[in-house]
Symmetry: none
Subunit: 343 residues, 2 copies
Amino acid sequence: MALERQSRLTLAGVAREAGVSAPTVSKVINGRHDVSGETRAKVLAVLARTGYKSPLQQRRTLADKPAVEVVLDSLISAYNIAVLNGIMECAVESGVEVLLHVTGIEAASPLNPDQRAQRIVDEGRCGMIVVTSAFGDAPLEAFRRRGIPVVVIDPLNPPSEDVVSIGSTDWAGGKDATTHLLELGHRRIAYLGGPDNVECNQARLHGYLAALRSHDVPVQDDYIIAGTFAADHGARGLDALLRLDRPPTAIFAGNDTIALGVLAEARRRNIQVPEQLSVVGFDGTSKAEESVPALTSVAQPFQEIGRAALRTVLRQLRGEVPDSRRVELATHLVVRESTAAPR
Amino acid sequence: MALERQSRLTLAGVAREAGVSAPTVSKVINGRHDVSGETRAKVLAVLARTGYKSPLQQRRTLADKPAVEVVLDSLISAYNIAVLNGIMECAVESGVEVLLHVTGIEAASPLNPDQRAQRIVDEGRCGMIVVTSAFGDAPLEAFRRRGIPVVVIDPLNPPSEDVVSIGSTDWAGGKDATTHLLELGHRRIAYLGGPDNVECNQARLHGYLAALRSHDVPVQDDYIIAGTFAADHGARGLDALLRLDRPPTAIFAGNDTIALGVLAEARRRNIQVPEQLSVVGFDGTSKAEESVPALTSVAQPFQEIGRAALRTVLRQLRGEVPDSRRVELATHLVVRESTAAPR
DNA sequence: CTGAAAGCGCTTACAG
DNA sequence: CTGAAAGCGCTTACAG
């Protein structure tokens, strides 16, 4: 009975239910721009509630598991892999298919955002998780307009409103790392950060500043060096710091890669870590564990982020409204061998 | 132009072409009985010639890319990621969807091999690539019986006949690594290998033996230590080798992880690499590049293996018979900082 | 059997 | 931004 109703559910029926005309529903389904936000929301709600499917979608076997597309910019980054791992774990538990899409691989996509969104719908995806920075607001907006749940993970910069994003508590992590060094007795602590304009880096920097402030340690401007999230920034940064009249006794690096660059440069210069210099990284990837000395680092909960992302997509599919458009999961400091009290 | 025609070809157009009415064409397409044989034939001819597709089919063929399932045992291993990268590259080029399945994540699968194979078919997969050792012969056989192309990548041990597998030239790689050390002047070269019963390890060992033989260097049994593909085997192996009366001047490790274990142990003992000890690894993962000193290693062509695997699946889908049930792609030695002439 | 006519579900073009 | 109206492509019901 309910099934029969379902199978008879037409676009016109949805329109009646939503109190709008059929053309309006058609526009919403096709992601047209000429629909007011209010009307769109009304229609999307009815679509979600009734589970309307276009004739094409109806014909697709109903037995299909829901499929979620995961978009990554590359498979090289250890974060991406860890996040993907979390997504896969959750996917197995919840019986969701995962389609993998790696953007770094494609040549410039010949599809504009709207075509791309259409393709996703045509291919029967029911949600997306975007673990990439190469994915601008325009495509996200196109997905949102069609009511495809999208979750963005750890964007370098926060996406437009209405897109749900998940990341780490970068500020708290930066504060933890710095507090650890302060508690070891360091007072001359440098921040060798990533790009100035990247939000997560700003948050880590401000966590560092907050920790210094709450320990009444004055901020020394030449201890703060912005750069890139790359190893050679770590190497060059150490070089610059050592040329100061009073070089720091500890370095908090904006990520593990920078920190490993510091370690490598220190080794070249025969500077003992942690005896002569303490180093803390950020990310807590396996590189931190494997380095010599093993790197003290603020671990991001990548796996949990992946799990949370898929759970959030599934919740949105069920029509639940996410608690918040931004969720940050707790980092935790992992103390290893690269930090000690200053001499 | 031709494209535009295609996209504009309607049922009405077919009807005009065939000199019948639209309803008649509709009946033919839908397999109705109330059409004369003559008319049906006429219509079918036009349908075949013009390649008419209903709107549904038009969208469907656009949407339904072939989907290949990739089975990995984990996302932690750097090989798996590199192979996956190659698969994704090829997938983008050939317009294939990739579904990801990570076996390590699941609890014991409640499905038996046959059910599992059935599920794959039901879900419309058209091929599988298995990058795992946890996947026995039974499921592979079940897939094969259903005519689902399966390619197994770098199995620890060769799978049953009729399953196509792709790997690296382990023997040649082992020979290259050892020859490199011999050409540097080493004569006391150890092989710190992986598990005795694993084929790729056997091949590397025999490449080592072949290189020694062709340089008339006698094999010394206590220079050959089997173990696991783990770092602590490297550390303990170095320990054992140093206790010999005449310790080796060079070590060929069965993989990079073992080699890095050797490097770490050497550092602990203040043995200079490569001045006092040369070390060669196998795999050529990024770890080899990033270690200090950077590790000379036999690089496996993981990316190419991934690409070849997907290409092979697609070829099988097109009905081509694979050239060989076993393909090995060339490794190549990458000389970095961990090898030098003996003192 | 055949096809003109009506109908269905969705989309498009456009007036307000 | 909205929806009445027209249109599109296909199917159905039915007269011949």
